[in-house]
């Protein structure tokens, strides 16, 4: 029962904060959006805990809230964002965006509800997303993707440095 309560709380928090990231009626300042993004991510970490993914919940908070969002804020501060607020949104693009997103949402939810996907779920799940079992899988079954990922990060790092150099050739 208490689990349900937690789920509802976190789910609502996630969705509301996410909505405020993209469509805040009071402010269109990117900083506000970034702050709400932090909230969204933290409440998602709550959902992860509910799903027994303890390690991921921690990673979510550390990497996203800690690193990614800080990066965003840095860039926001770095750039001049005054101009953006003064621009008007185009009515057409807003309505069509809402329409498309809404349609996708309706279709997805209908599909989920009608598919009976829950029936495939195991009745009494037991797994625990602790570092130890995750690590075992990661370094045994997924060793090659893991290594490739490290190269990806390296490439991204080099790319980011190269791109932010002053005299871009």
């Amino acid at each position: 029962m208490i689990e349900t309560l937690f789920f509802i709380t976190f789910a609502l928090l996630t969705l509301i904060c996410a909505l405020l990231v993209v469509a805040n009626p009071f402010s269109r300042n990117p900083v506000t959006s970034a702050m709400f993004l932090v909230l969204t991510i933290i409440s998602m970490a709550g959902l992860f805990v509910l799903l027994n993914a303890f390690f991921l919940a921690a990673v979510q908070v550390v990497v996203y809230a800690g690193a990614v969002i800080v990066l965003f804020l840095f860039v926001i501060m770095l750039l001049d964002i005054e101009e953006e607020e003064r621009r008007k949104l185009k009515q057409f693009s807003v309505y069509s965006g809402i329409l498309v997103a809404g349609v996708v949402a309706v279709i997805a939810i209908t599909a989920i509800l009608s598919s009976g996907i829950g029936a495939y779920a195991s009745a009494s799940p037991v797994i625990q997303g602790n570092p130890a079992p995750l690590g075992k899988i990661l370094f045994r079954d997924y060793l090659l993707p893991f290594e490739i990922l490290s190269i990806l990060l390296l490439v991204a790092m080099v790319g980011a440095i190269l791109l932010s150099k002053k005299d871009l050739k």
């Binding site: 970034a34 993004l37 979510q60 964002i81 829950g118």
Partner: protein, 100 residues
């Protein structure tokens, strides 16, 4: 009792909110945040699947997605910075190079 479907619905809604952001906001930075939201929606679905299928592979996927997202954000933000240096704007409407 909370079921798999409920998590999936939350995930779908989150995804659509992200999509809404991508479609309506004009600021590149906010666009990027919306993209992050969409990625997180996928993460949520994967973790839920992992939980309800008694299988840790889903969580590993999330792990990878987070890493890729981090890489993507770093490159993307570097691009935005470089772009801003050149064009003094972060508004997508000013960027119409794709037009022939």
């Amino acid at each position: 009792m909370i079921q798999f479907e409920h998590y999936l619905i939350v995930s779908a809604l989150l995804f659509c909110i992200g999509l809404l952001g991508v479609l309506t906001r004009k600021n590149l930075l906010v666009l990027y945040m919306s993209l992050e939201l969409m990625l997180n929606a996928a993460n949520l679905a994967l973790v839920a699947a992992s939980r309800f299928h008694d299988n840790l592979n889903g969580q590993i996927m999330v792990f990878f997605i987070i890493t890729v997202a981090a890489a993507e954000v770093s490159v993307g933000l570097a691009l935005i910075v470089a772009l801003f240096r050149r064009r003094q704007t972060t508004n997508v409407q000013d960027l119409s190079e794709l037009k022939l």
